[in-house]
Symmetry: C2
Amino acid sequence: MGAREVRRGDDEADRGTLVTPSAEFPPLGPEERAALSRIGERWRAPRGPDELPVDPTLGRNRPGPTPSRFGRLTPIDMFTVEEPDELVAAEPANLPGSRAGRMLTRLRRVLVGPPLSSSAVLYERMRKVVALPILSSDLLSSIAYGPEAMLAVLVLAGSAALGLSLPLAALLVVLMIAVGLSYRQTIPAYPHGAGSYIVASDNLGTTTGLAAAAGLMLDYVLTVSVSIAAGVHAVTSALPGLAPATVPLGVLAIAVLLAGNLRGVRTAGNIFVLPTYAFVVAVLALLVIGYLRAAGRGFTAVPPPTVPAVEGLGLLVVLRAFASGAVSMTGIEAVSNAIPAFRRTEWRNARTTLSWMVAMLVVLFVGLVGLIHLNGLAPRPGETILSQLGRVTFPVGPWYALLQAATALILLLSANTAFNDFPRLLFFMARNGHAPRRFLHLGDRLSFNNGLVALALAAAVIFAAFGGNTEALIPLFAVGVFLAFTLSQAGMVVHWRRHRDRGWRRRLAINAVGAALSGVVLLTAGIGKFAEGAWVVVIAVPLLVLLARRIQRHYATLHHALALHPPPSAGPAPPPSASGSAPGGAPPGPAGSAEGEELPQEVRHLVVVPVARLNRASLRALAYAASLGQPTLAVHIAPEEAESDRFREQWRAWGDHLRLETIVSPYRAVIGPLAHYLEALHATRPELTLTVIVPEVVLRRRWHRPLHSRAEKRLRGALRALPGVVVTSVPVHPPE
Amino acid sequence: MGAREVRRGDDEADRGTLVTPSAEFPPLGPEERAALSRIGERWRAPRGPDELPVDPTLGRNRPGPTPSRFGRLTPIDMFTVEEPDELVAAEPANLPGSRAGRMLTRLRRVLVGPPLSSSAVLYERMRKVVALPILSSDLLSSIAYGPEAMLAVLVLAGSAALGLSLPLAALLVVLMIAVGLSYRQTIPAYPHGAGSYIVASDNLGTTTGLAAAAGLMLDYVLTVSVSIAAGVHAVTSALPGLAPATVPLGVLAIAVLLAGNLRGVRTAGNIFVLPTYAFVVAVLALLVIGYLRAAGRGFTAVPPPTVPAVEGLGLLVVLRAFASGAVSMTGIEAVSNAIPAFRRTEWRNARTTLSWMVAMLVVLFVGLVGLIHLNGLAPRPGETILSQLGRVTFPVGPWYALLQAATALILLLSANTAFNDFPRLLFFMARNGHAPRRFLHLGDRLSFNNGLVALALAAAVIFAAFGGNTEALIPLFAVGVFLAFTLSQAGMVVHWRRHRDRGWRRRLAINAVGAALSGVVLLTAGIGKFAEGAWVVVIAVPLLVLLARRIQRHYATLHHALALHPPPSAGPAPPPSASGSAPGGAPPGPAGSAEGEELPQEVRHLVVVPVARLNRASLRALAYAASLGQPTLAVHIAPEEAESDRFREQWRAWGDHLRLETIVSPYRAVIGPLAHYLEALHATRPELTLTVIVPEVVLRRRWHRPLHSRAEKRLRGALRALPGVVVTSVPVHPPE
């Protein structure tokens, strides 16, 4: 096969494409590691760290208890010791502390199952026979509407034009095989994820990759709303009484899909095995019976009903019909993103699955188009062409009903492909900083919770906004898909030119054909359907690319600002004027020198305690402040002179243990003058770290909160922007 | 007058009823002061407080600069020294730190004027000639609808019953004089605020006082919406094109009133002087001309138009007519709440103003009822009876239009009385803990901003909810007002029985008559109009009383929990088992012994630094923690074993300066296990104070926030409920 040769030799990159829970914790680069050691060498704590007053391992040396599912363990029992200085948190330690939070978490666990340990990540892989239905439901369900979409365009030019369906179908089969072969080559080349985003980014640059990703993201969201709409429509056609409940039904279906996917890959797969195979069997049975009957007639085609031509049979109509028929191929890319979810050897299993899928697609598509032609069927409003075909082929018996049921079910479930791929795409994007980092997080069932929820939300909003009539969106998503196809295959062309492995010319040629054909479809769909809605994609894709780039820039700026740099004095060539700028590419001093310290001996303290009145809470804050043994200043804001004097008098009664500064605020504001005073203090000695210690009375009941000024919170907000000001809340929990 | 004799001798209570900015800072009681000294005696800081590294007076010894109105001073220039260790904040120190906040504050200042210093509080007092229009607009405007309300009930029994208006008016005059005399007696007895809430609370108990307050609060809110509705209705009657904009116009009028009142007492008064006097002059002119014409006819009454009787002339109709006519008296209580806003001697000026008001009320009311009778007018839909009278009396010339304009204007402005009294009532309630404490705050224009805004919001919501048709609410507020009148005067009866000053029997008799008459009106209005809406008051008053009592209980519980108590060892009789419970009524230990400390030597520290990754932010947090010189422990939560090992390896590269504990969280949650670990640590040594030091990357742009997990915030939330856990945010401000 030569596949092993074309695998990229770069082990580091290979590891990088693995889906692992540690992706949230990227390792330090070699420069940062060196800087870390340099910084560490200069660390001098003002006092050696004392013996800790507690045992950090919580005194655990016995084996941990078995956590009960619904019982509440004492906090200590939630941790077991595995190695010295290393605890392992038991499952109950994940429960939130509040009662409402625990109830919610338990409800979620009833719905999606108990949490899965990180060590289970390797076992949550798919066998091929399971992967096929999971990944192909989208692709195969497309043939339920793809041929019809093509015929619906042709019929505009009159019933005679319907005969063009056969050559167009042949062209589409060429396209399917070309794209299939293309992806067959891509999978071993990118064995840890061969999605369009990765391939296009790698070979054509980030922007191109992001454009492919944006196209796919639109596709996934629309696929969910459209297929749910089609499925719900099939249900309400059978049971018209349910029609008013279209939106709740659709949202419920999306919620069920979400719940199923939150349970994790394997469980989700089990739901989809039967309907997919049932659909395939039903359509195959339709084809066999249908062709047997046609054979009985000697394969003479029934002439289609006479439909008047609305427009002439020009090239544009043919191209639009071709592009419409190409929606039968949406979903073909599902395997390439999902390679890491296969069992070992992942890429080989994925490639085999892809071959099966394309083969099934070609057989079903050609069979259906041919049979429709032989039976002389034309699209008509109110009944799908697949339903017409079913009625003609199965005039009696339950077979027609079974076919319709399987179709409805696979349309509903085809949305699942998007649930498989969308979170994975976001994971890859987030790893490069192109999407919010939370999409890196593997949920407690080892699924990408955040991505799944984001997809479900977006699809549900679109579904509800269109009131469940999302059929109008079908033209939209073909554009997104073929954008991704074209860019991915064009990327592979560049890839082969760069790598020039054995047989690269042949591979390049295959990918080039795929790219060219996909590009034609993209252009046809984009131009032919521009007014029908494709303009949305033309606007949305650049916006998404822009957003991703801005997200990436933010992360990069932040990473640069927070990255470790060697300290100035230990730098390789300390410049004479190294006061402000450190060598080694240190960023400009981050907003005030008080935040530059990385060493304890550099921290100069001033502790400030704002005191409004003398009570247990403020005395506790004062005691806490004084116990730190750092220079401490108390500040009182008084609304008028008289109150200031009264407070000073109380202060003296207490013993005048700390220096007190009172500030009369003649306009009675508290937070503003206090924040400005701290700013002014800071301005006199910018190298000081000001620790503001605020007592915080913790109110347990929510309705009590408006009864208090919550000065602690407002002060924290006012001090946020000041550099070098540390805010410490000393909580007091009144009984109640 | 004997008024000085009846002033309460209790100076402490007198001071307590003064409206002063220091009300937000109540003084310590003698027991608390003693406890404070005892606690202070035992204070031992672990190290003597060092010389402060800064000058807390900011090195100010020169006179402060003159702050420019719109210029931004450097923080240091915002403070001037008045006494040693006492700074005074200049006006710019009140501005918020953020640019948007400063813009908003400046916009507000353009609308309501520059801030007023606390020292101006004495000057913001009203002269009588200004107080009269401010406080009487509500009362006088009532006569625009009071007589009509009475006649509208009488006419139900047919036109013949209209003749009963004269004896009923005589009865109402008796009631007005009785209530007026009652309040004349109350004012010197409660010279710092003689509102029904204070008088009823003082003499009949808290619940009764709160019932009076609830009645008045309903009255004030309804007065605003009703009079704005009447005023807007007068405007839209004249200019029908504006009718669709009723709600925006009303809300705009409320906003204008709010802005005027936020500007402060004196400025608000200036707006109201002219319209009130104009209305009085207009009605007086109407009366003079009207009676001159009637004199020309020899005072023969024109017979009223024949109206068929809808119901028989029973006692109930007469009583309802009496109660309806009594709405002419709403607003009579305005002076009693506003005594502190008068110039010295406050109570004397207030009493004189009250007398003028009642005299004007009686003259206008009697004059109008008589003139209506003489002209044989009856209420009819579409035109107010005052308008009919105006048309009859001023058949030509601009006088009719002027009368209508003055009426519309005073109805609009009568809402202002509520703006004067409502915030003051809330201030008195808040001082007793019966309302949220924020109503104690004097805004930067020396007005009770929070109360004003609350009233405007409530009135605007009611106005908008009823679409500006608030006339239906008129029966509601008579019930609230007369509830307050009755309780206030009944309270005065008790007051005289208790104090028995010179002439107490006469005074008691006057108040008893007032209470009895008000009580009759209250019962009549409550029963006669129960179905028309009075039931709302019957439900709302107890609910408001209940709410106020719950608020008071919360404040009391909290005050008790935070009050200072003498330390156990210095207590007068330390019990042998004084480990948990302190003598002197100390509350049960507030949730964990780690929060009991009031002395620095009692605080035992453990510093815990959660570290997710090693970067500048976390190294700064570690350096900050180590620089405190307390036992320190670093904690890392790893999603899997491999990541934990990698982190430990980095930790060693750094130099292993602090003890590190890693916790593998196999279900990948971070906040939950960390919070439970801290809880478990705390459980092993409950007397420790755990200081959790969290690096916080401060993001300046709002749209960046969803890109981060904001673990600092979530951790703070999870740790809120844990006693003895102090959370410290060490901010890092990345450049951008």
